[in-house]
Point group: C2
Chain length 448, copies 2
């Protein structure tokens, strides 16, 4: 008997799942992937660099695997096909062929919902005007690039998260007026305020006009109305966050969870038998709090898609729990964080203590060395590392991965400080900044 | 009652120990440090960069803490004082004042031997000729710099370990003829041969004339006699390895261990009561094999010195076990390793399997992305990660620290692959090369 598998969405989670199912080479599985855009398996994270002119080969370079390549690997991808409804009783997906306008029906025994997320648009006057854009799909990136090439010079970016900051810098790098409007007193509000301030300063040096504590009140043709006054604009990019595309699931009666994302277990199974979900549309489980969270990151989506694919193909895999590790670069300044900040640790019921150290990216006597700050958040009592934030020059931020491994292993600050980390003058100091932070956190805990 | 502490050696291990003892602010401890050179607490690892002209502030920049700074922190440092004998019965060190030639005697209740190491000089004709040098102390670095400035243009470096490779590149960067003579079929023999070959090729591109499988037969004025013929030279740098300076301890009857290094436990105590040892003169304990090893690295020396200092001041600390993590850069090529290669794992009795992956340092669509190779060595059966080797472009090598944390925590290849590692296009790929290597290693183990 043949098992019919339908996957809605052909980007990070959906395409990864499809590739795993195809790799299982099970003749009894029939697989179809419905993708509403013309693209599959692309790097949405590369869009800011595309706009900034850093990718000489253009948008195509962001595509890791085209629909044709997927098909040659045995995955039946239907692009420009948009799922419109899930009928659980009939076990079928109703979809629209966006090219012909015709309605299509796909029966399934197993359904994977990998519909991704959408930039949030608050219900404000003018929010649907054509000069208001988001950055989520590759098509969004291509559209922005085209508009910029056609002469959009005055850009307003609303929201100072990772995407907003990267897009604001990209437009500044193109020589556009780039105004970043953020409601909070800082950008990158996942970071502690004092560290995020370094990013605000760097954005200024990159030519971005950052307007903090400024609300978006509405939009009209060519004008952005803010609490700080009207701003003329050719283009507005909404980047205040990503909402899970879960309305299709919701309408079908599939259970939602954290922040409206589709509720899933670590097998990526929803609470509806035969229905799976993965990627920006679904929940994840946090490694430290064990809470269900909504974290819209490509790394998480790829891991979850892999799990879903392996399980649909008959496996029994669990998606690893997440720490929400994130990294970005603003001009020469690198920023990374993982796990819990003090504020989030406190919220989650941990008694935590922060330790902050100033160091250099490598041996200070080399002219290439640059300042870097490491903040560790450590649990009182146990001494376990709960989180880290790093801001600094070139080479600073990827050290976050050492802390990721340490947190995942449940290491204490002392254990972190004792790691036999690499050292040579062009790379580090004889006590790596991560080890110094660990040692000082351990000392602080002992009251030294 | 006052406890008299004598430390022989004022660099990495000795000075770190002294600083810890001084920080304990115990009035009952009387501390003196004997250092035969004029320098304390310097970065010997920076000497190649000094010679290569990368340190604009010159040799002084390599000194982290001068004798005067140590004294201001309460450490009585006697520079240009060389310990000549340890008398355990009388509990005293006999020393020579190298300035005056007079003999000095220092009584001790606790003695820390931190005499470091010395570049090995095989007993060959001409090995003691004045144009034959080593690189160990800052004075060695200053001497080499002076000789190069005075017109030594033809340099021969004997030995292709980390120091040899770095020094050979440094002389080439100065525009000198730089010939590297190595007995083995490759340089950096701690690495697997195929990976080390990338370093040989890179050395060639840096202008170093690498002569492999070539023996040093002897030296005479201005000529290096090798198995591949005579080579004219103004300067010869011996870099075939570092031997522990343990003869003083040996003569006093203190027990030696691995490779002639002073035998110590993880408290840095020798088998002689009241005598401690740390740094390049002493053993370490390997984290994976639990064997006593001799690893002459600044990171290890600093950690061991810290332990010795804390324990002499009344603490009860253990030096972390070591993995032998090492990192270097040759031109734009980065190299790192940690733990056990397949060969070393097999020697140590592990049944191991290697997995090698080719990746890029970050998103391949950015022009700055460069190739990198990761090789993981994993234990059969348990799947535990035993070691890693990385060779690649900028940003590749510091990933070794993620593996260091994973090995220390006893993670399997699967666990390594599941880490929530950082991703943004300028830093990595959505599956970091370390995670890809972990995943492939796990699949290989399952026979997929």
């Amino acid at each position: 008997m043949t098992t019919r598998v339908v996957i809605i969405g052909g980007d990070a989670a959906g395409a990864t799942a499809a590739a795993r199912i195809a790799a299982a080479q099970r003749d009894d599985l029939e697989l179809v992937v419905l993708e509403r855009t013309p693209f599959t398996s692309y790097s949405a994270c590369g869009i800011p660099m595309l706009i900034g002119g850093e990718i000489p080969d253009g948008p195509d370079a962001l595509v890791a695997r085209t629909p044709g390549e997927h098909r040659r690997r045995g995955v039946d991808v239907r692009t420009r096909v948009e799922a419109r409804a899930i009928d659980l009783d009939r076990q079928q997906v109703e979809a629209a062929d966006l090219e012909t306008g015709s309605t299509l029906t796909f029966g399934f025994d197993e359904l994977l919902i990998a519909t991704g997320g959408t930039p949030i648009r608050p219900p404000l006057p003018g929010i649907d005007l054509p000069f208001v854009r988001g950055v989520q799909t590759l098509q969004d990136g291509i559209d922005l690039l085209r508009l910029a090439d056609q002469g959009c010079r005055r850009t307003v970016i609303v929201g100072g998260g990772y995407i907003g900051v990267e897009i604001a810098e990209a437009f500044a790098n193109r020589g556009c007026t780039s105004i970043l409007v953020e409601r909070a007193p800082s950008v990158l509000t996942l970071l502690d305020h004092d560290l995020a301030t370094q990013v605000v300063d760097q954005l200024g040096r990159c030519g971005v006009d950052v307007r903090l504590e400024t609300d978006l009140d509405g939009l009209s043709d060519g004008v952005v109305h803010t609490s700080g006054g009207d701003v003329p604009a050719d283009l507005v990019v909404m980047a205040i966050g990503v909402a899970p595309n879960s309305s299709l699931a919701d309408a079908a009666g599939i259970e939602l969870g954290a922040k409206g994302a589709i509720a899933v277990d670590r097998r990526q199974a929803t609470t509806t038998s035969g229905v799976w979900a993965a990627g920006d549309c679904a929940e994840s489980t946090h490694l430290l709090t064990d809470e269900q969270v909504h974290i819209a990151l490509g790394t998480v989506a790829n891991k979850a898609g892999r799990t879903a694919g392996l399980n649909i193909a008959g496996g029994d895999h669990l998606t690893p729990k997440v720490l929400g590790t994130a990294i970005t670069r603003v001009g020469p300044l690198e920023v990374a964080l993982t796990g819990l900040t003090h504020a989030r640790a406190t919220e989650a019921g941990f008694e935590a203590r922060d330790t902050t150290i100033e160091a250099t990216t490598h041996a200070g006597y080399l002219p290439s060395a640059e300042p870097m700050t490491v903040r560790l958040t450590v649990e009182e009592g146990s001494g376990r590392v709960l989180g880290a934030q790093i801001v600094g020059g070139r080479g600073a931020a990827m050290r976050i991965d050492t802390v990721v491994a340490a947190i995942t292993a449940g290491m204490t600050a002392t254990e972190l400080s004792e790691l036999d980390l690499a050292y040579a003058p062009p790379f580090s100091s004889v006590w790596d900044p991560i080890a110094v932070a660990g040692r000082q956190a351990a000392s602080a805990r002992r009251g030294e």
